[in-house]
């Protein structure tokens, strides 16, 4: 009996969370012969078609938006993995003056809410001639303070003996970083890469402010246009969102376990 109640509640949550996606998929496959507003609502299309997908692709250059989002995401992922690893290594394993001060700077930067500095960021990007460019979209998040601190924690968990042995053998700082320490923190790097990717791929506010030319639109901006363009035809909006979901679902499907591991490592992103 208890098991039944438990699974009924779980099923209800499943319907609540997966239902909207299933309905969107069904909507995207409905053809001209379907009454979208039939009562009761019909989940299985009576006149199934892929025409909505063609229709939305004809009128909105979704592949172009995907490409733009991909470029931004690539820049952000590369910047974070490389830049945060380097900085995290220095903060965790090298001794130098002002180390605490620099660590403190990253903590302060972590606490600044992006929304409250976004206008000043835009003025900066605009005055450096990067407004309406993909580089301008990527740069401010190219190395995140949170990722630097995550990498620092990762490097700190490596036992000292490992690096000390290499040092005695005459390994310089770069060799110790590249051959000894970096391979030990691949898991944290993966987490940083995934969360940077998802963050860049899904960001909306910042591209909305920076980009003005449609040829530079990222996927989220392009999708936002769907609502204005096809307000009267939910089937086309549905097809557009399904197309847009495919890349992120593929990434999620392949890298699921890292998503969970990342959150459990305390990598909370607000």
């Amino acid at each position: 009996m208890r098991r039944v109640v438990r699974y009924l509640i779980l099923l209800a949550f499943f319907v609540l969370l997966a239902g909207p996606l299933v309905w969107q998929l069904s909507l995207s496959l409905k053809g001209a012969g379907d009454d979208l507003y039939a009562q009761p609502p019909q989940l299985v299309p009576a006149d199934p078609t892929l025409g909505n997908y063609g229709g939305v692709l004809d009128r909105v250059p979704i592949p172009r938006y995907v490409l733009n989002s991909g470029i931004v995401a690539l820049l952000v992922v590369a910047g974070n993995v490389v830049g945060a690893s380097l900085a995290g290594y220095a903060l965790a394993r090298l001794r130098f003056r002002f180390r605490r001060l620099v660590t403190g700077l990253f903590v302060v930067a972590l606490l600044v809410p992006i929304e409250s500095i976004i206008i000043a960021q835009f003025l900066l990007v605009r005055s450096s001639g990067l407004a309406d460019t993909l580089l301008g979209v990527a740069l401010p998040t190219a190395i995140g303070a949170l990722n630097v601190l995550l990498m620092r924690n990762g490097f700190q968990s490596i036992p000292d003996e490992l690096e000390e042995a290499a040092r005695i053998d005459g390994a310089g700082v770069w060799q110790r970083f590249w051959h000894i320490c970096a391979p030990q923190v691949r898991g944290v790097m993966t987490v940083v890469a995934i969360f940077s990717f998802v963050g860049a791929w899904n960001d909306f506010l910042w591209p909305l402010i920076v980009l003005s030319g449609e040829e530079n639109y990222t996927l989220t901006l392009g999708l936002n246009r769907l609502r204005g363009t096809f307000y009267s035809d939910p089937r086309l909006i549905a097809a557009g969102t399904i197309i847009a979901l495919i890349p992120i679902l593929v990434v999620f499907g392949f890298l699921q376990r890292y998503f969970f591991r990342g959150l459990q490592a305390g990598g909370i992103k607000g």
């Binding site: 220095a90 500095i117 206008i119 900066l124 190395i143 506010l205 549905a238 679902l249 969970f260």
Partner: protein, 296 residues
């Protein structure tokens, strides 16, 4: 055999730090200082502006749009945070286990988390539209005569956006709770079972107290992100912030005042400073509240 231990050059750490410091100082710390400076000027996008002291803040105080935005964002925090703290915990307790079906459900529940607010907003726009699925079902069941105005009524629009936020966030906080629950000593459950506690009492007396620190953290994070809400409200209202801007949030106000050719960057800077202060107060208030509760 001689020991060839090397000594790092003094500047080596700074080379490692250079890229990260450059990005963080240029794109976070400098804009932050610049926001503070802007807030005391009458700058616009096209002219640098001059110092006007606290005039922007006086103007904010009398600005109806600012009051509406502040009300909406704070209401967002008040409504969303309790749900975000409680519902994912219940969900996590129910879905915790090793069977294949539970593992499948966990993945399914997490799925909305990786979707952007624009996609989620569009999906729910389709569902909540006056001719959408929800209204269709309500009318078919005879619960309402005319469509419910989920996307145009002043308050309903805001609640719809909250629903979207909760929908996206449930799985996220569920996973964090699951991690915390893994740290609870199983012996506590056994002891409770021996004392005759059923699943509900075990949840209330073992699980919930066991993850208290995590609940506090989730309260903190979800209130900050609720106050910053942007995408959901933007998409559900088609970028307008509702009829006459009555569903605008603080972030939307910053975006509207601070961009475009008519942008008043000084005024937008002042709104940003207020937002920063409110977020600081939210954090401080929660920390104070939790310390007080912990020390009792």
């Amino acid at each position: 055999m001689t020991v060839r231990q090397t000594h790092d050059r003094w500047w080596a750490p700074w080379l490692f730090l250079a890229p990260a410091l450059a990005v963080v100082v240029t794109f976070i710390l400098f804009p932050f200082a610049n926001t503070l400076a802007l807030s005391a000027t009458d700058a616009t996008l096209l002219k640098p502006g001059r110092f006007i002291g606290a005039d922007n803040f006086v103007r904010l105080w009398q600005d109806d749009r600012f009051r509406v935005a502040m009300t909406n964002s704070l209401l967002y925090v008040v409504c969303v945070v309790p749900i975000m703290v409680a519902a994912p915990l219940v969900l996590a307790a129910l879905v915790n286990g090793t069977t294949r079906i539970l593992s499948f459900l966990r993945t399914a529940y997490y799925l909305p988390v990786v979707m952007s607010s624009v996609i989620v907003g569009l999906i729910w726009t389709n569902l909540l539209d006056s001719r959408g699925l929800v209204n269709n079902v309500l009318q078919w069941a005879g619960a309402v005569d005319s469509p419910v105005l989920f996307l145009s009524d002043r308050w309903l629009t805001l609640f719809s956006a909250m629903l979207v936020t909760v929908w996206t966030g449930l799985g996220y906080y569920m996973v964090i709770y699951l991690a915390a629950m893994a740290g609870i000593d199983p012996a506590l459950y056994d002891a409770a079972a021996v004392d005759g506690a059923g699943p509900i009492r075990q949840f209330l007396h073992v699980t919930a107290p066991g993850v208290r620190a995590t609940s506090a953290l989730i309260g903190l994070f979800s209130s900050v992100s609720a106050f910053r809400v942007f995408g959901e409200v933007y998409v559900l209202t088609g970028g307008t912030g509702g009829t006459g801007g009555q569903d605008i949030t603080v972030t939307m106000l910053i975006q509207q005042e601070g961009t475009g050719l008519q942008a008043e960057t000084g005024y937008a800077g002042a709104i940003s400073v207020v937002m920063f202060v409110v977020l600081g107060l939210l954090l401080a208030g929660q920390l104070w509240f939790q310390n007080r509760r912990a020390s009792r």
